[in-house]
Symmetry: C2
């Protein structure tokens, strides 16, 4: 009986370990994490190629950030929440990082090549907004 | 032996079920989810009481949204990503919802009381930006 209990316990423990390793890892964005949002304001005549941005530009920049990068997100502007007002932004790309100074140190030497890639997907000069996650 | 296997299987399955119920639920923001961001632009003389916003205003509005609300976030503006440029926003509150029309239907009848609460924490007129999660 004791042996059976031990076997059951081992199986249960192994099962739990396998389960916890098997589940997809979700990056946890905690209070205090830094967001660097690259915001592309909408205006008449402005263009934005989301497919290039998603498949080429953002993965390239994310690749420069190493383990400081918690996750990155991309959103596509749909509307102004107030009727008959212009769309505020065509798109926003956001890097969630542990450290702003590490972000700046990683991006600094790559700034020229990042900017040179802008013309491949947009004619907008982005606004860069740094904020802290409160909740 | 068959019986022992069945018992082990039942224990394992029960263990898994208990484990999956015990872990903290993390709201999953998937591609296609709608973001409604209430953005408070910075300007000289503008004020923003983050404590009131976090503990009173945002929980009140979130309470109007029911199961359509996936999660909400709050961020505090720190800097413009370009040196010597003004801070773009003092704060941003964001509701992640499954359906924009359900959001509008829930907020519509409450709009006056939501706006009446603005003066309790800020003198800024927010910009409301609706976007779709691409990644």
């Amino acid at each position: 009986m004791t042996f059976k209990l031990i076997v059951t316990f081992v199986l249960l423990t192994t099962g739990f370990a396998a389960l916890s390793q098997g589940k997809p890892t979700t990056a946890v964005v905690e209070k205090g994490i830094i967001k660097v949002a690259i915001m592309y304001p909408y205006a008449e005549g402005k263009t934005f190629n989301m497919e290039y941005y998603e498949t080429r530009h953002m993965p390239m920049v994310a690749g420069f950030l190493g383990p400081n990068l918690v996750k990155y997100t991309i959103e596509k502007g749909l509307a102004n929440g107030v009727p008959n007002q212009p769309l505020p932004f065509m798109a926003i790309g956001t890097f969630y990082v542990q450290s702003l100074s590490d972000y700046q140190a990683a991006i600094g030497p790559k700034r020229d090549s990042i900017r040179a890639d802008f013309s491949n997907y947009t004619n907008i000069s982005p606004v860069i907004f740094v904020s802290e996650v409160v909740k």
